[in-house]
Symmetry: C2
Subunit: 497 residues, 2 copies
């Protein structure tokens, strides 16, 4: 999840200094307004990887906000003597800010659970149980007029490595408090625990925001702007509450994971022929294997119009036995389907054991075309991310292997293909007025696709982003990713769960 947060997001010095004055003014203004009308309390909760710069970000907040009305509460593991004499949540309750006040929480009620989970001292069920009770606590806070903003600081492994080395060498950073559970050697585990928290505790009343922490200016600006924006929204329309959705990446308008796909790879024709045959053989063997009799495969294809979904699907199904697979092209729902929950028609088509189902377009249209064209309300497509994650989780838990492909092409390449479709008679049926209309909203679709990938790329159902600028490259990538997913799943190579 949150692929876009791992991109080397940064901001130029100039832009940083241009944005700062407005931001500081806004921060002080909302703080002052809150201080006066006392309509709610604010909690700024910081969590995430060790070395991502939570401490430095707080220092900046203190610089930018009125520090007289800003309390910072840090909690350590293990708890103090006094704390251990009382229930776990007591220390957090004791320090809850009064309405009108703002508190920063460092080492929050997530810490003991995440830490125990990473350290292998809490089962998966145990963690989910904890997270469910955290949800109840946070729902109560929301009802009791506490605005809770939760931030997850993240950065890629290599970058974390560099940061921690710098910190070690830099004596001025003696105050840096190392959290073992989210340090280097637990990088991946901590990310997974964070992903779980984001999946199950990013609610309408207490959303998570992911802070890309590559670049410190970017990080601090993203944090402070999210705070200012959220507080000001709450001050304006005091009761507005969006629906639950996975964490939102606090990005400053930079490119997302889908926009960042490298479209340059090309597969020469001769190589293609050989590799195609190899991968198709491999796929046939995997699907014919004894192990697959107990599993099933679901492939989902989405992508830009004319990206070549159909062609890739045909190369994928070529080596398969037609009795055991089915391709479902998804268009508008029927009247009967409209009378049921939108996932109903997909549940009816999931593969049974030993079978393969391929969706050419899918339930993801909910967060793509339906979002962009306004066919459903914001609340409806926002909740769809969690609903889809739950749906795929159930499929995965029952043994279905899920491969999701986003096939990407450039705007120019699309234009070329559209024209070709218009000109070549037998390709004519493939192009409609609607395709041209969608093309006008290229940027909106790119944002929607990026959000989709960030919010629904889970360990049990990851997205594979494929450049389809060269169709042969795309076809090989799809076959390869499918084979690898099958292989890993059937030999349980994942290694983490």
């Amino acid at each position: 999840m949150f692929q876009s947060a791992y991109l080397p997001q940064k901001i130029s010095k100039k832009e940083y200094h241009d944005r700062l004055p407005d931001l500081r003014e806004k921060l002080l203004k909302v703080q002052h307004l809150l201080q006066t009308d006392k309509s709610f309390a604010t909690i700024i909760l910081l969590a995430g990887l060790d070395g991502a710069g939570k401490g430095s970000a707080i220092a900046r907040l203190y610089e930018w906000m009125d520090s007289r009305y800003l309390a910072c509460n840090a909690y350590q593991e293990p708890p103090t003597e006094e704390e251990r004499l009382r229930p776990e949540m007591w220390r957090y309750w004791r320090d809850l800010p009064a309405r009108g006040e703002t508190a920063i929480v460092f080492g929050s009620w997530y810490q003991p659970a995440l830490r125990a989970s990473v350290m292998g001292k809490l089962s998966d069920d145990g963690l989910e149980h904890k997270l469910a009770s955290i949800n109840r606590f946070e729902e109560m806070l929301a009802h009791e007029n506490v605005l809770l903003l939760k931030f997850w600081f993240t950065l890629p492994l290599e970058k974390q490595q560099v940061r921690l080395t710098q910190l070690k060498e830099n004596k001025r950073n003696e105050r840096h408090y190392l959290q073992e559970w989210s340090s280097l050697k637990n990088h991946r585990k901590a990310e997974i625990a964070g992903e779980k928290a984001a999946l199950h505790t990013s609610t309408g009343y207490a959303p998570w925001f992911v802070i890309p922490s590559h670049n410190s200016n970017y990080r601090d600006l993203a944090l402070a702007e999210t705070i200012a924006e959220s507080m000001s929204r709450k001050l304006d329309q005091k009761s507005a509450r969006p629906v639950a959705a996975p964490a939102i990446i606090a990005n400053l308008g930079s490119v997302n994971a889908v926009e960042a796909i490298d479209l340059s790879p090309v597969k020469p024709k001769e190589e293609y022929k050989v590799e195609l045959a190899d991968w198709q053989d491999k796929l046939a063997n995997l699907i014919d294997s004894k192990a697959f009799k107990k599993r099933s495969l679901l492939c989902v294809f989405q992508g830009n119009d004319a990206a070549g979904k159909g062609g890739s699907i045909r190369r994928l199904t070529a080596p398969l036995d037609p009795r055991f697979y089915k391709v479902h092209p998804i268009s508008a729902p029927t009247e009967e389907e409209k009378l049921h929950p939108y996932l109903w028609r997909f549940w009816r088509r999931i593969p049974k054991r030993g079978h393969t189902t391929i969706f050419d377009r899918s339930y993801y249209e909910r967060v793509l075309v339906e979002r962009v064209e306004g066919f459903c309300s914001e609340a409806d497509w926002m909740r769809a991310y969690n609903e889809i994650n739950s749906f795929e989780r159930e499929l995965a838990d029952s043994g279905i292997i899920i491969c999701k492909f986003w096939l990407a092409i450039s705007e120019g390449e699309q234009l070329k293909r559209f024209k070709e479709r218009e000109e070549v008679a037998y390709k004519n049926y493939k192009i409609t007025e609607e395709d041209w209309r969608n093309r006008l909203r290229w940027a909106d679709y790119a944002i929607a696709a990026g959000d989709m990938v960030d919010r629904t790329s889970t360990r049990y159902a990851p997205w594979t982003l494929v450049s389809s600028e060269d169709k042969r490259h795309a076809r090989i990538e799809v076959l390869k990713a499918t084979c690898i997913a099958l292989e890993n799943a059937m030999s349980n190579v994942d290694g983490l769960e």
Copy 2:
């Protein structure tokens, strides 16, 4: 929980026949309206103890409603061959009713989890994890215009015994399908699992209703009236959604557990003196014991005005060391307390290890005086049940032993005591205008107290209902219950967890 549902609730033949025509008309009317406007689908989910009469209740529904538009979907454990080839939830998705339709679900998505939990095949954490994912599923249904009504059929052990014997002997009931997990020998475990479901899955969008199944006419009427009422409300104000609260007992206006307290017991003075000394000694020993150093005690006193809370508390604290206990009389919150969540002032006062805290009135005022006098909105006091249950759960999990007492007197006895307070000079401070005002709303307070006991009497923090018509009786009962709770907790006699 749901004490009131265990009372021998019944309805006279005459009342039954008087109410039936209107009920049937209403049922047909809502069904027809729904059929026409197709604004939502209805699912009637039946669960509960074996032998409580779910099958017979369905037969009645079929008689009373238009059976052409009523589907009945029963699911068995273990699932069929076809079902086992797909994810667990597939069979339920397949049968989801379309908007406009009504489906009865028998052996629902709760069954596998509850069954596994009762049979010891699912840990506590595992059950809560399952329930959390059920919540996500049901929230999605609500968003997708499915009205989900969940009914838990319950009856006391003795009654279940009689019913099952009758069923065995009665050859006409051959179709009766025995669910082993909720049969006689698992009575208590099934009730506990049901209680957990009610605590964590009775949400604003999909509430549980408890059906007292002592008497079949009462049972069927309570079921059908709840259905008619819920469907008609949904037809009227299509989006209204109350907050989450523990299951609601579908009672037909009969007395609740608090109103049913037997006020006759009297403790003669001589016996009282002996027993008081004995129990106080016992209490002192328990509190002085080594085991208590690792625990703590929280006692909560609520009751009718003038029921004698103060007197009982003094008898309880008499044998205790003042350095280790504290009595907190609870009145209106201070200005500072008002700026925090309402539970904040109680969290601050919970006992630390080895200590005792006594609340003379408590956070329960939220669902008593604040509810009855309208000091907070219905949504606020409705969510308080769950919030209080979560709060007490956290205390209990950390080792705090919780005893809650409801001290009851009759209206007549209260009048006598009020007058005495007015007449006797040194008792004068105890009576105010407010007491007289509250007395006028006796019936409202009784309903509020009954709901409170039904919804917050958990295994980890049970209510003890005490008649205080005779003060000596009450004092002994309070001491006795406290000693027994301490003893059980410290020797882990509970036996069930």
